[in-house]
């Protein structure tokens, strides 16, 4: 049994390599991978031997090794401090990737409300992202409204869009719901692409201004980095609170069993509506920031692949778990960047990596306890 999994994985990877490098390389790769996996397996089995002495050392620092690392409060402080000082040490490129990760973290946390908390599959989430971005872009370029004044409007509009999508979608479940949301995503993209007089169609809207705080204009990457850090913190805080609230409970009940939820007095229609709208709300935020940062929006940024990517972040990280979703979003932005070196194999390796992850951790990297109310 313990041999079967590594074997399947090695064969799977070897088959992926076959068309690129030929039979010999694939076979070689298969053997190398198999041996590595087996080595890891046996190391994993003996990890308990190391655990005791390690714990003794960590006890000196009142650090419990048995609580998972990501739950430790110390790690959070260290991580937060590290995030604050990062801009002083890294190149612009790294900062750019960090900013992109933050935007996706907000998006993934928003989709997590719909998919992870309420259990409703939404394949058109990018539509809300697009509506948020275009609302700010249009308000700014046509009416000259600044970022901070436009932000509430664009978030409100995406929330309303969330409601509007939810109304026809609420009668549907599972696969049918997925198809309707998919259609919604495409409709929004096509409107943006074809409404030339308003959105300038495929050319996109350029010359969007960046945020201004007390006559201080955001223009450097560092500024955007701190701005996003601030918004990510707010998103995490609020989604966490809402998840633990009565509304969050209702979502969990609906996700676990909709009929049972209605027999204990939960207004399932209403709470599903809330989930869609609340998820869309965050997409509106992310969209506005995206437009302000890029100073340019075009329909190309809001394709179906984006929706899939965000969904992957949620599922990969652990649907329903906030820390998991953050890790998932970060990894899916970071990995393609790291794999830029191997160009041709980039998407291949990424795809194969996802498959492996789903084999080993079907509930996501940090998933598993997500069903429970106490996270």
């Amino acid at each position: 049994m313990s041999l079967l999994k590594p074997l399947i994985i090695s064969i799977w990877f070897a088959l992926l390599f076959l068309p690129f490098k030929g039979l010999k390389a694939a076979l070689f790769f298969l053997i190398i991978l198999l041996l590595t996996l087996l080595l890891f397996n046996s190391l994993f089995r003996y990890k308990n031997i190391f655990k005791d002495p390690l714990q003794k050392i960590f006890n000196l620092f009142e650090f419990n090794i048995l609580t998972p690392l990501y739950e430790s409060i110390y790690l959070r402080y260290v991580l937060f401090a590290a995030l604050l000082v990062i801009p002083f040490f890294v190149k612009d490129y790294v900062l750019d990737v960090a900013i992109l990760s933050c935007i996706y973290i907000i998006l993934a946390l928003g989709l997590n409300v719909v998919v992870g908390f309420a259990g409703l599959l939404n394949l058109g989430f990018v539509a809300f992202y697009a509506i948020g971005a275009y609302t700010y872009a249009l308000l700014n370029t046509k009416l000259g409204i600044g970022f901070w004044s436009a932000l509430p409007f664009s978030m409100l509009l995406t929330t309303i869009a969330g409601f509007l999508l939810a109304i026809p979608a609420l009668r549907l479940r599972g696969d049918y719901l997925a198809i309707v949301t998919l259609g919604f995503g495409e409709i929004v993209r096509l409107i943006l692409n074809n409404w030339d007089t308003l959105t300038k169609g495929p050319n996109g809207i350029s010359g969007i201004s960046t945020p201004v705080v007390f006559s201080f204009t955001f223009y450097k990457l560092t500024h955007f980095y701190y701005l996003l850090l601030f918004f990510v913190a707010i998103t995490i805080f609020i989604t966490k609170r809402v998840h633990k609230s009565r509304i969050g409970r209702a979502w969990i009940a609906i996700r676990e069993d909709e009929i049972a939820a209605s027999t204990i007095g939960i207004n399932t229609t209403m709470y599903k509506l809330y989930a869609f709208a609340f998820g869309a709300f965050w997409a509106g935020l992310a969209g506005s920031i995206f437009a302000a940062k890029m100073q340019f929006v075009s329909p190309e940024s809001f394709t179906f692949m984006e929706s899939v990517l965000i969904l992957c972040m949620v599922i990969l990280g652990g649907s329903g778990s906030i820390s998991g979703v953050i890790v998932g979003a970060f990894l899916l932005v970071l990995l393609p960047e790291l794999l830029r070196e191997v160009q041709l194999y980039r998407m291949l390796a990424l795809g194969a990596g996802l498959v492996i992850l789903m084999i080993f951790r079907p509930r996501g990297i940090l998933g598993g306890k997500s069903a429970s109310l106490r996270i």
């Binding site: 009565r246 209702a250 969990i252 676990e256 049972a260 209605s262 204990i264 007095g265």
Partner: protein
């Protein structure tokens, strides 16, 4: 307390209930027995608002509840234990009970205490997830979850389904206890004998109509009922 008058319910074009007349008085245990597909569960679903009657009237404490959504009906004091238990398998026993108290009626701690005296086993298992419980324990949890919304009327849909006879006895004894505490009960059962022994009055449903009704001790002795449902 609850009165159904000439209730007709459809599944698409198929008429599942063709004129049900039924009454439940305060403090009673009333059972509804009948074969598969006779319309027992449909009746319950119609009362709890998951299905809507096309014709007829449903009165609860003198008020019409015919067109009220399910969650409002729970608020009014009718709780349903759905068929097949439908507990939340991934949540712990405690979390299941907390979910049952979603409406926040009554004192949570008091209700919890009452439930743990009714079903001590749930107290032992409170941190276990619902899915790891045995069938009988899951049924107990489903009943407890429904009780957490402090209902005046409890609708039970086949609580004996798939359980060993000894567990069924235990559950039925507890149903009696719950009734003694002042909760009116409408019980739907295939296990006609057990249901008639437990209840004060009974209705026999056939093809969407009430075929017999009366006090349970008379129904048990009714020749036709005995032939059709009690295996004589």
């Amino acid at each position: 307390m609850l009165k159904l008058a000439n209730v007709h319910t459809f599944y698409g074009n198929i008429e599942a209930l063709s004129g049900i007349n039924l009454e439940v008085n305060q403090g009673e245990i009333v059972c509804l027995i009948g074969n598969n597909g006779a319309g027992k569960s449909t009746t319950l679903m119609t009362i709890s608002g998951i299905l809507r009657p096309v014709k007829g009237e449903i009165l609860f404490e003198g008020e019409s509840i015919k067109n009220i959504p399910p969650h409002k009906i729970v608020e009014k004091g009718i709780s349903q234990v759905p068929e097949g238990r439908r507990i939340f398998p991934k949540l712990t026993v405690m979390e299941n009970l907390e979910m049952g108290a979603f409406l926040g009626k009554g004192n949570f701690d008091e209700m919890l205490k009452r439930i743990f005296t009714l079903f001590p086993v749930l107290k032992e298992r409170q941190n276990q997830t619902g899915g790891t419980l045995s069938g009988g324990e899951q049924q107990m949890l489903a009943i407890s979850r429904a009780l957490m919304s402090s209902p005046k009327l409890l609708l039970l849909d086949e609580p004996s389904l798939g359980l060993a006879p000894i567990i069924v006895n235990k559950i039925f004894t507890t149903i009696k206890e719950i009734n003694h505490e002042g909760v009116t009960i409408l019980l739907v059962e295939q296990n006609a004998m057990a249901a008639l022994k437990l209840s004060h009055r009974g209705y026999v449903i056939e093809n969407g109509r009430i075929a017999f009704e009366g006090e349970s001790k008379f129904l048990i002795n009714n020749e036709k009922v005995r032939k059709a449902y009690l295996g004589d």
